[in-house]
């Protein structure tokens, strides 16, 4: 007579350690159900990463033979997401408590919205069992904990609906007493997308004695809160890690690097500062960049330092270009040799410069701006006198071209060459010509 032998490779993914949970605590039975689900799915220990965080539920990973990650309170979903993104072939299961849905609420939302293919088990016992039974996001109103001595005043979080309306592929609510909880876990783990199971259980150390809570009261509380049990959300959405790879296959990108082979250059005697002060949206930075790259073409070294408010489309925009016979080590500009003031915003940023400038330096200022006293040579440029209107977004380039032409800050032919390059080349050259022709008041 022969006895049929089960050749299941892993009849259990539990290890030999006994659970540490309090008598009557539901966590052990939830973990048994998880084990049952994983065995049923024929998962091998090295194919599974159980990610836990802090609290009694955070002890869970230590009772399995699987890979494990035990991290910070409420952050298990972030580690799990990183693991899944990098290795989508791994089965990644988060075990967290209701506490983690508070401190880590942003991660819960993001994981559901991404529909990243991890499974989250929330061992939800309505309080912080490890630290003394304090109230959590899921403590129902009126229930007593050490931190809600008069009864909880906060509305409990509906975890399932929260992830459900935000894109989770699978969301289930049940209790550790349900007969089908292992089935549902297997379903969640098999889901190609974000799956969450909100599993209610009893904390016999705190929540039960503090509230005369019981198995029967779990059911009645759910009913009183108007919450359903069962699989409440199931939706087909692309899983994030897979979709990312699909999209990446069609992706090309490169880093923008301006490469210049410097020409044989005229000698530059000393470091030279060319500053453009204008308004956001006025293409101040791109005009200044033409000066900087023209200097490079001439064989010199340059640096460009931009300053702008954090709201990029309004207020002043300042670009300081340093042109130097050698590599620029110090990128500060105290005294410009040439200062181009394009607008009222730019004038507002120019006071300190104007104070330091001397008779050797030149200010090109848009006509009509009230320049304070300065020792610098002042050239008032009549933007209205170009024979055609120059729109505000083009004034910086026109004035910079004018200043380059008049001062020779960089060789004008180099400036023209770089201005004429790229998609806006033709338009730029037109503006450069208009700028050179501007009248000086």
């Amino acid at each position: 007579m022969t006895t049929p032998i089960s050749i299941e490779p892993h009849p259990t993914l539990r290890n030999e350690k006994d659970y540490p949970f309090c008598p009557g605590c539901g966590h052990g039975s939830v973990l048994d159900s998880l084990n049952e689900a994983m065995v049923r799915l024929e998962l091998e220990p090295h194919e599974v990463v159980i990610v836990s965080d802090i609290g009694c539920s955070g002890l869970s990973d230590q009772y399995f033979r699987t890979s494990a990650f035990h991290g910070l309170h409420g952050r298990s979903i972030t580690y799990a997401s990183g693991i899944k993104l990098a290795r989508p072939d791994l089965t990644v299961i988060v075990i967290m408590g209701d506490g983690g849905t508070g401190i880590g609420g942003a991660h819960l939302l993001a994981a559901a919205r991404r529909n990243i293919g991890i499974t989250v088990l929330v061992l939800n016992n309505f309080n912080f069992g490890m630290t003394g039974g304090q109230h959590s996001t899921t403590t129902p109103e009126g229930f007593v904990t050490p931190t809600t001595p008069g009864g909880n005043l906060e509305h409990p979080l509906d975890i399932v609906a929260t992830v459900g309306v935000n894109g989770a592929a699978y969301a289930h609510r049940g209790t550790n007493f349900d007969d089908d909880i292992a089935d549902r876990m297997a379903e969640g783990i098999s889901t190609d997308g974000f799956a969450l199971l909100d599993v209610w259980d009893l904390c016999t150390a705190y929540f039960v004695p503090n509230n005369k809570f019981s198995r029967r009261k779990i059911d009645s509380t759910m009913k009183d809160l108007g919450l359903d049990s069962g699989v409440l959300y199931r939706q087909e959405r692309p899983e994030f890690a897979t979709e990312y790879r699909r999209q990446a296959a069609a992706h090309t990108a490169g880093l923008r690097v301006d490469v210049v082979e410097p020409a044989v250059s005229p000698t530059l005697e000393r470091r030279f500062h060319f500053v453009v002060a204008g308004s956001a949206g006025g293409r101040v930075r791109s005009a200044a960049r033409l000066v900087a790259t023209a200097a490079m073409q001439a064989g010199w070294w340059s640096a460009q330092r931009d300053d702008y408010p954090i709201t990029v489309k309004t207020g002043p925009s300042l670009s300081e270009v340093i042109i130097s016979p050698e590599e620029v080590n110090y990128s500060g500009v105290d005294r410009p040799d040439v200062l181009v003031i394009v607008s009222e915003d730019g004038l507002g940023k120019s006071a300190a410069f104007l104070e330091k400038m001397t008779g050797e330096d030149t200010v090109f200022v848009a006509a009509g701006l009230a320049l304070p006293d300065t020792a610098a040579r002042v050239v008032s440029v009549d933007l209205a006198g170009a024979g055609r209107p120059i729109p505000s977004a083009s004034r910086a380039l026109a004035m910079v071209a004018h200043a380059v032409d008049r001062t020779g800050a960089v060789p004008f032919d180099r400036f023209e060459t770089v201005a004429g390059q790229g998609a806006f080349g033709e338009k730029n050259l037109d503006l450069v010509a208009a700028g050179v022709a501007l009248n000086e008041a």
Partner: protein
């Protein structure tokens, strides 16, 4: 010769000069080092690194993701590193605050992790688009417990490239967080750069335990304390355990003083026993100089100009640029200070690194230029202090 815009430059291409910035150099360094996972959260002035990494990783088979916050970003990096990915994140000072707890996780779990900190003026929100060097102590002491990390500070655009590669190498070597400390000025000011400066450093492979073997892997061990053991990562033929709690050599939580003591001594000594190996400084010494200028990061640029100016004027002066801020390269600092009567430390903060110099050189007069108004230190300010 026309400038080529929007083109991808590889390190092998021969070009003469480029107009680029530190942030781009860091991204190029990370990609050259084999970084294949990046997660970050937008913050000025580090956002351009986030954007460039997310735009360039997919085509290279890597993963780049914007986290829902800084905590998620570093958490995802740590998780990915545990699968064997070479990971980096980038932020500014306020983001380091939010990384703080997970920096401890990476120290405790011995995770190779490169963290770029593009410093801005603080405290608090401070001034997002204003430069500073205020995080030099923060990155070292920014997580509970006081355990060591490594921090490198490039002082030129090309060093942003080479030191980022070095950071990846050190992260693999020592299995710990390695910071690359730059600032708004170095990261975002465009500069003409000699392309020859983008020199590839070798980045070692991660020493891994062979988990494809049929036999279970050797236990993770803490002794000898100064040794760094090969890493076990998820996805092989054997399960791997990780925990941020005090743990035994199988990564099960323990409070056993002997085990915990050995673990924590290991976390310290794997760094402190290898300070010489990590140390990186640049010296520019002049005989008969009695003043030594000391700086790092962007301020070292001002120092270079100051040295040149002083020497043209016939004033002897020596200079030390500290590239590896943590662990402090004590011996290299002492060497540079031989015969020196006074040291001037220039930095864009309330004098944070000067205290390290004072500690290393207790018998030398240490003067600080500590600027906190958002402006750079001008070379002329340093020249005025050279005797």
């Amino acid at each position: 010769m026309a400038s080529s815009r929007g083109s991808t430059i590889t390190a092998t291409e021969t070009v003469e000069r480029e107009f680029t910035d530190g942030a781009t150099a860091i991204v190029r360094g990370a990609l050259a080092a084999g970084c294949d996972f990046f997660a970050g959260y937008p913050i000025t002035p580090a956002s351009s690194i986030l954007m460039m990494m997310l735009q360039n990783l997919p085509a290279r088979g890597g993963i780049g993701i914007q986290g829902e916050d800084e905590i998620a970003s570093i958490g995802m990096c740590i998780g990915a590193a545990m699968t064997g990915s070479r990971v980096m994140t980038a932020t500014s000072g306020p983001g380091i605050s939010l990384y703080s707890e997970n920096i401890g996780v990476a120290i405790m779990g011995e995770v190779p992790l490169v963290i770029v900190d593009v410093q801005r003026l603080g405290p608090s929100t401070g001034a997002a688009t204003t430069t500073a060097q205020g995080d030099v102590q923060f990155v070292r002491w920014g997580t509970g417990g006081g355990y060591p990390v490594i921090a490198l500070a490039p002082s030129t655009v090309t060093e942003c490239y080479t030191l980022t590669m070095r950071a990846f190498d050190l992260a693999e070597r020592f299995r710990c967080p390695v910071f690359v400390l730059v600032d708004k000025e170095l990261a975002l000011t465009m500069r003409t750069v000699d392309s020859g400066g983008f020199v590839d450093a070798s980045v070692r492979d991660r020493p891994l335990v062979d988990l494809s073997d049929t036999a279970p892997p050797e236990e993770y061990r803490y002794e000898p304390a100064a040794d760094v053991v090969p890493m076990q990562v998820y996805g092989g033929d054997h399960p791997v355990r990780f925990t941020g709690s005090t743990h035994d050599e199988q990564a099960f939580i323990t409070k056993n003083p002997a085990v915990v003591g050995a673990l924590n001594e290991h976390l310290i000594r794997k760094i402190t026993d290898h300070v010489e190996e990590i140390a990186m400084v640049k010296t520019d010494m002049e005989e008969c100089a009695t003043t030594l200028l000391v700086s790092y990061g962007v301020t070292a640029g001002s120092m270079r100009d100051a040295v040149a100016t002083a020497r043209v004027a016939g004033t002897p002066v020596s200079a030390l640029t500290v590239q590896s801020l943590w662990p402090v390269p004590d011996a290299a600092i002492r060497d540079a200070a031989a015969g020196i009567e006074r040291v001037v430390v220039a930095e864009l903060n309330p004098g944070l690194y000067a205290r390290e110099i004072e500690r290393v050189l207790p018998d030398v007069e240490v003067l600080g230029i500590a600027r906190t108004d958002g402006r750079l230190i001008a070379p002329s300010e340093l020249v005025a202090l050279i005797k």
